[in-house]
């Protein structure tokens, strides 16, 4: 589902002494089925931006289009319900939002709220719990008897059960151990591919942005500061550092090595394997020179 933001501006507490411009004239197109990463330091406007995507916040100026739905500053009748069905948000620490007696009921709550029959919602709950890698036994348990990592998966299942077409992830792996992080990110990436979702990931991890995203948007002071493919964005190290960010650790290392070895090297993907290959080549080329 294509998403287009046109001149999107958001002011908190407008017309009061506390007025604050949180988003400033954002223009952004997100192609249906693409994976977008949004990066930026705390307070750069990332969260305000994603809260518009399912209508939790209304633009102060400008418009947002999600498929054929439009959210605007003036619109009287905003298509909120339909918007929220299409756009699912996994917030930070989503397990804090679990509330029901059993895992099954908790996951069913969302779809039933959107008019799905009880029977269908139950079927979806069972399917989603399996999808997020939890055993069927947890369905009858209280979500509060589960471990933190399991609770996070239940909360994610609850969002997926609404069968959104756009999935917004706000630092979905914060606080998880490295293994849990990898599993959750791989799950989202698999869903993204299998279901053709449009995925928007807010992250502090340059590595995840480089690894999963087709495009990256860098936010700074409520504006789009940089935008492009991972290679394009991570070419601008100085600009990123001015925005309190940096390039992925693979590229940091390569730049360090480049400085030391005085060779111009380029990295087109940011995996460890590719980094190793490029560095190994710089040894190889040197060897060739000797041979000549």
């Amino acid at each position: 589902m294509d998403i287009t933001l046109t001149g999107l501006t958001h002011r908190y507490k407008p017309k009061t002494p506390f007025e604050r411009l949180a988003l400033d004239d954002i223009h952004l197109s997100i192609t249906s089925g693409s994976f977008l990463a949004i990066i930026g330091h705390t307070g750069s406007g990332k969260s305000t931006l994603i809260q518009h995507l399912n209508g939790l916040l209304k633009p102060s100026e400008g418009t947002m289009q999600v498929g054929n739905l439009t959210l605007s500053a003036q619109g009287k009748k905003q298509p909120l319900k339909e918007l929220r069905r299409r756009v699912g948000i996994v917030f930070q620490y989503p397990e804090h939002q679990l509330f029901d007696e059993t895992v099954e009921k908790d996951v069913m709550f969302g779809p039933m709220n959107f008019g799905v029959s009880e029977e269908q919602a139950r079927q979806r709950a069972h399917a989603m719990i399996e999808l997020v890698g939890l055993p069927a036994e947890v369905l009858t348990k209280s979500p509060f008897d589960l471990s933190g990592g399991q609770m996070r998966r239940v909360a994610i299942a609850g969002v997926l059960a609404m069968e959104p077409e756009v999935l917004v992830l706000d630092e979905p792996t914060a606080g998880l151990d490295p293994k849990g992080r990898r599993e959750i990110m791989d799950l989202f990436y698999r869903l993204h591919k299998e279901k053709g979702l449009t995925t928007i990931l807010v992250t502090h991890s340059m590595e995840d942005a480089a690894h999963y995203a087709d495009r990256i948007v860098v936010m700074e002071q409520g504006r789009v500061y940089l935008e492009g493919t991972p290679s394009e964005v991570f070419r601008e190290r100085e600009m990123l550092q001015r925005a309190s960010l940096d390039v992925p650790e693979t590229l940091q290392f390569l730049l360090e090595w480049q400085q030391r070895s005085k060779q111009a090297l380029t990295l087109s993907s940011f995996t460890i394997e590719d980094t190793a290959r490029v560095i190994a080549q710089s040894f190889g080329e040197k060897g060739d020179e000797h041979a000549r």
Partner: protein, 279 residues
């Protein structure tokens, strides 16, 4: 080295749980060291933190801090004054309406006289490089700044040990860096002992010592070099290898004849450079 904390045969079980969260745990924390504790979610790291300053009491075994036992009620405040904890969420531990008030809160609880209190607040706020913000309100501060205020609140009480309980996990990369650098300075210049509970293996790689927790037990203890040699164990414990170890392995696979394992990026660059100049 002087032993500050002794954990001896400690087990702990939460009420209504059928499994122990910690099982027969023994470890020591030495004066002036930076100890990293790593492990999967639910491995018992945070339970250990709460036991170390007596927020929880062991179901078996004993914990003492500079000779004071957490199990003795009349010694508990001596323990708490020595062990300060910085928690994960910066917004949940800011209690004052300004930086100054927030740091004062802890001192008031310990009944420090007013003149001394003013002195100690200014001093500790300076040591975390937040003097410019001493009258700032919390909502004007970034996550990293709030965590530094939390640290100021702790050092104002002159503790011997600071525990970072995933204190940087909710921060952006810059906030993470400023908090770690602040604590590093306190550790190096003032000899404050640091226990860092973390999932950040790059940070753990720079510690003096690492303990790997797994299902309530300490599975491995040693220098980062010793601990990170056991790749299998780290993966089993839900962790990963630090970046430079992974890159080192990938380089060897590409035929770069590296001899050792390199824990930090600096070491790896140096080793590569040596190889390169010899070639």
């Amino acid at each position: 080295m002087k032993e500050l904390i002794t954990v001896r045969d400690v087990s702990f079980q939460y009420p209504n749980e059928d499994k122990e969260a910690l099982r027969n745990l023994s470890l020591s924390v030495y004066k002036g060291e930076w100890l990293a504790i790593v492990g999967h979610n639910g491995s018992g790291k945070s339970t250990l933190t709460k036991l170390l300053n007596g927020l929880l009491l062991p179901t078996a075994g004993e914990i003492s801090v500079e000779g004071y036992s957490t199990a003795k009620e009349d010694e508990l405040w001596d323990v708490r004054r020595r062990v300060g904890i910085v928690f994960q969420n910066p917004d949940n531990q800011f209690v004052g309406t300004s930086v100054r008030d927030d740091v004062a809160f802890g001192l008031e609880n310990f009944g420090v006289p007013r003149d001394e209190m003013i002195q100690r607040i200014e001093d500790s706020v300076r040591r975390v490089n937040m003097s410019a913000f001493i009258d700032a309100e919390p909502h004007h501060l970034s996550g990293g700044q709030k965590q530094r205020v939390a640290i100021a609140g702790i050092i104002a009480q002159k503790p011997s040990i600071i525990i970072l309980d995933e204190a940087t996990s909710m921060l952006d990369p810059m906030g993470r860096k400023e908090v770690i650098e602040t604590v590093k300075e306190l550790n190096e210049k003032e000899g404050i002992t640091v226990i860092s509970i973390t999932h950040d293996l790059e940070e753990a790689a720079k510690a003096d010592r690492v303990i790997v927790m797994m299902q309530g037990e300490a599975k491995s203890q040693g220098t980062p070099r010793e601990v990170f040699q056991n790749e299998q164990l780290l993966l089993e414990a839900g962790l990963d290898l630090p970046f430079s170890l992974k890159l080192g392995l990938a380089l060897k696979e590409q035929g770069v004849p590296l001899k050792e394992q390199y824990i930090t990026q600096e070491e790896l660059v140096d080793a590569l450079w040596t190889l390169h100049s010899q070639g």
